[in-house]
């Protein structure tokens, strides 16, 4: 726990070294200031201490008048012991070593010691603490407790009850962090087991985190099960590109193949959590149907070719195409690739038809604060989004704000969502009445004579609830929504009304992107005319050549018939894709590319934080990074020096795009940097995610 400004300092002595620590800081944290460590199991810095495992025992005493130390007769749990003036703590004495041996001996009584076949072996706190502090042999000859092993608690989480040491971390996570309280301890004593109600499916949207925080192998990942031993893994710091939150993760790989995702700490973004979509959503890295070499159409099939063999027909089809050539970009393409794509289309093809917006209506959302601001405690209106699905980490932050900082939350959605569990007021409106509700709330807050009864008639939300919501929001209420609103036909008007609400309350207006680099595309001016318009132009024959960049229109666009017509009609179709997709069947040329963790690049998350991802594994076969494809095309098409690496591309972006002014790889700190923030005055410091571009 970091020192808080106005907490008084107290003097404590730890192993005879005097230090000053904030009053009330837990001793388990204070010792870290001296580089010491107290072994723990149940304590977790982000959850309330419970003192359940007794691993963290320390000797505690107080200085007497005569200078001698009077120790308490019994050891104390360091994880529940707040520092106070004159406290004397010993972490390394003979009695403490005996206590630790004793605690571990008890913990191991019922533990099956099946480390050789345990997924946690090699990265297991129980193993480590036993190695460091435990007895080397067991005196226990009685029968151990026997319970189900490898119990599938959900498709992601496997529970081995024999290994559980009943520390309660998993239970407390669902109670304190994710808030769904899906796990609880059933029964008591040695029979106590963490489990779901009647062992039903563990449905939490954040269930993967309990795998990481379980200090033994009781909760393991069903997806990673027996795929590697931890010491065989290499790991690379990375950023999750499944959604717009941009969680920092460890990308674990073995022999060039993706293996698993673990959370990585970034206090500004995900703290250390991940959502299940991200943690278990990287399997496509190992998909068997990924394109591995450039292909050109030959009759009904494809013929493999070299990269230059693929570039020639592409450049011939697009050259000087003007309005008759277009590109559609998916939501997970890096800033660098987006920028070069736009440059390629503008300079070489003379076309402005590059579009990244797959929503039904155009719009660029609104970003005024940061993810961390969401937990500050001010009132928040969550509008038209299921936060745990669309912006999972923002959901955790908001919940934290509500439970720890007393933020009052109004949740408006057409059906119940997880936010209702901590919301002060829930407004469940009739689907389709979003605009009426947003305008109604605006009217009520701005005092323009609107009545709650009129809004009730239009939206089905009881007038009393509306009045309660207005009470909550009127002082500084922030309007929080996702750009998913633009999928509604009146999206822009709704966002406008939400902005009005924020103006009326004096709060912020946040309408955040949901795609990994959706916001980056907006900042780089690539939103364009929108995919629907482009696809229509293709279907009507107004566009003769279309370039799909990491975008599967069948998955991204709701109108299947339109997509089919467009892809059939367009004369020349380039499918540049890292993964297999339905659109491949229509392609004239297929360009295999790399996934985010296979290439260098930056991504702009929902709060406009630019974070760098570096290559962890190579792309399969001849796959190339997206930016390189565009850079090579530019080299062929134009007599100018192309940009040869992403670092240079970022410099060009910073020079050309005002939003990115000052953005350099060196200026992206370990936590990434929010655009328009402190970019310009960041001193040169090596980026944590370093490496040569």
């Amino acid at each position: 726990m970091a020192a808080v400004a106005n907490v008084p300092l107290v003097k404590v002595s730890i192993n005879d070294v005097e230090i000053e620590v904030p009053k009330g800081e837990l001793i388990v944290e204070s010792v870290k200031r001296l580089g010491l460590e107290i072994p723990i199991f149940c304590y977790h810095p982000r959850m309330k201490p419970v003192g359940m495992c007794r691993m963290c025992l320390v000797e505690v005493g107080f200085k007497q008048q005569d200078g001698s130390v009077r120790k308490m007769p019994k050891p104390q749990a360091g994880c529940t012991l707040p520092a106070s003036e004159g406290m004397v703590v010993y972490t390394d004495t003979e009695p403490i070593h005996a206590d630790r041996r004793g605690v571990l001996e008890f913990l191991l009584i019922n533990h099956p010691l099946d480390c050789p076949i345990c997924d946690r072996g090699g990265e297991c706190p129980l193993q480590n603490n036993t190695m460091a502090y435990g007895p080397s042999t067991s005196r226990f000859i009685e029968l151990k407790r026997h319970l189900p092993k490898a119990f599938p608690l959900s498709t992601y989480v496997t529970l081995d009850l024999e290994r559980c040491i009943q520390c309660g971390r998993c239970v407390r996570f669902t109670e304190e962090i994710s808030g769904d309280h899906d796990l609880a301890f059933r029964f008591r004593g040695a029979d106590m087991q963490p489990s779901t109600f009647q062992l039903t499916d563990f449905e939490s949207k954040f269930s993967g985190n309990v795998i990481e925080i379980c200090p033994v192998g009781a909760l393991t990942s069903a997806k990673y099960r027996f795929r590697a031993r931890p010491w065989d893994l290499e790991t690379t710091p990375s950023v999750c590109t499944v959604c717009s939150n941009g969680c920092n993760v460890w990308f674990d790989h073995r022999a060039g193949k993706f293996v698993r995702i673990n959370g990585r700490a970034n206090e500004a973004v995900n703290e250390e959590w991940t959502c299940d979509k991200g943690k278990f959503g990287h399997e496509h890295y190992n998909a068997a149907d990924r394109p591995t070499q450039p292909l050109v159409r030959q009759g009904d099939g494809f013929a493999p070719t070299s990269w230059s063999g693929a570039y020639d027909p592409v450049l011939a089809a697009f050259a000087e195409g003007g309005d008759r050539v277009a590109a559609l970009v998916g939501p997970r393409v890096s800033n660098e690739a987006l920028f070069l794509l736009r440059r390629l289309f503008e300079r070489a093809f003379k076309s402005a038809r590059v579009s990244s917006n797959w929503r039904r209506t155009p719009g660029s959302g609104s970003v005024q604060g940061t993810i961390a601001d969401v937990e500050s405690g001010g009132p928040v209106l969550v509008f038209g989004t299921s936060l745990a699905d669309d912006l999972p980490i923002v959901h955790l932050r908001l919940r934290k704000g509500a439970t720890n900082a007393g933020a009052r939350v109004v949740n408006a959605f057409s059906r119940p969502t997880e936010v209702d569990r901590f919301a002060a007021v829930s407004l469940h409106y009739r689907p389709g009445s979003e605009l009426a509700l947003a305008r109604g709330l605006h009217g009520l807050l701005a005092g323009t004579g609107a009545t709650a009864e009129a809004v009730e008639a239009e939206t089905g939300v009881p007038a009393d609830r509306l009045r309660e919501a207005v009470e909550v929001l009127k002082e500084g209420g922030t309007a929080l929504s996702s750009q998913g609103l633009y999928d509604l036909s009146d999206g822009p008007q709704i966002v406008e009304a939400l902005a009005g609400i924020a103006r009326a309350t004096g709060g912020r207006s946040e309408c955040w992107a949901t795609g990994a680099n959706e916001q980056g595309a907006i900042e780089l001016g690539l939103a364009g005319e929108g995919a629907t318009a482009t696809l229509q132009a293709c279907a009507e024959g107004r566009v003769k050549a279309l370039w799909l960049v990491a975008a599967d229109p069948f998955a991204l666009h709701p109108d299947r018939a339109l997509v089919e017509r467009a892809l059939e009609t367009v004369e020349f179709l380039v499918v540049q894709s890292p993964v297999g997709s339905e659109a491949l069947a229509y392609a004239s040329v297929v360009l295999p590319t790399a996934l985010p963790a296979e290439q260098d690049g930056t991504y702009t998350n929902c709060e406009r934080r630019v974070q760098r991802v570096q290559p962890a594994v190579p792309p399969p076969g001849d796959g190339k990074p997206d930016w390189r494809v565009f850079s090579e095309c530019l080299l062929r098409a134009l007599p100018e020096t192309p940009l040869f690496n992403p670092r240079e591309v970022m410099e060009a972006i910073a020079a050309e795009v005002p939003a990115f002014a000052g953005c350099r790889y060196e200026a992206l700190g370990p936590e990434g940097t929010v655009l328009g923030g402190n970019l310009l005055d960041t001193p040169d410091e090596p980026a944590m995610v370093g490496g040569q571009a």
Partner: protein, 213 residues
């Protein structure tokens, strides 16, 4: 949890609160509403609500009875189940017989012949401790101190404490016990109302104020 478990087999999903069949009587709902005023938040209400549910579900607290408490208190199933399975007086594991005879075998009772009394009960009912008679009328249990040492050896049936008014050390004590057990069994057989329902109701009535009944 004895089923053989297959990796990857999908677990059944817990029912949505709106899909539950709520079985509480009107009176139970009123009692719950009255109790809500006694506590700062709904979490504090879990124990009394579980007693109400145990009464409403016939002296047994099946998963549905737990889920109903969760739904009525707007808490998760897992949390309520965790509380219910912690306490031994909530009958979560299986439905007890119509009359649950709980024999105290703690120190004072032990000294006065509780185990002999227990043997007699086992013999007459033909079941062992923890078992239910085939006709489903009696369940026998061994419990710790009932806080009635002055009446040792003592048994509890529902809300009632009963004792043979004889100890093993008394003149003809064992014979008295036998005769008393016979009378007890006959008497209980003639009572149709399940004793665990009576117990649950007694506990609930302790919580609900007279003015709220």
């Amino acid at each position: 949890m004895s089923e053989l478990i297959q990796i990857g087999a999908a677990r059944p999903k817990a029912p949505q609160p709106q899909d539950l069949t709520l079985r509480w009587s009107e009176r139970a709902v009123e009692e719950l509403e009255a109790l809500k005023g006694h506590y700062p938040d709904l979490k504090s209400l879990i124990l009394p609500a579980l007693w109400i549910s145990q009464r409403e579900y016939g002296g047994h607290l099946p998963p549905e009875g737990i889920a109903e408490v969760a739904a009525r208190l707007q808490r998760t199933y897992a949390e309520i189940e965790g509380v219910a399975t912690f306490y031994s007086m909530y009958n979560t594991a299986h439905a007890p017989g119509r009359h649950m005879i709980e024999v105290c075998t703690c120190l004072s009772c032990h000294m006065c012949g509780a185990y002999r009394l227990a043997d007699i009960l086992e013999e007459k009912l033909g079941v062992k401790m923890g078992e239910t008679t085939e006709d489903g009328v009696f369940t026998l249990h061994e419990v710790e101190c009932l806080d009635a040492c002055d009446r040792a050896p003592v048994i509890q049936v529902g809300p009632d404490y009963l004792d043979p008014q004889a100890t093993l050390q008394d003149e003809g004590g064992e014979a008295k016990m036998r005769a008393w057990v016979d009378r007890l069994i006959d008497d209980l057989r003639s009572r149709p109302e399940p004793s665990s329902v009576r117990l649950a109701d007694t506990v609930v009535q302790v919580h609900v104020r007279a003015t709220e009944r």
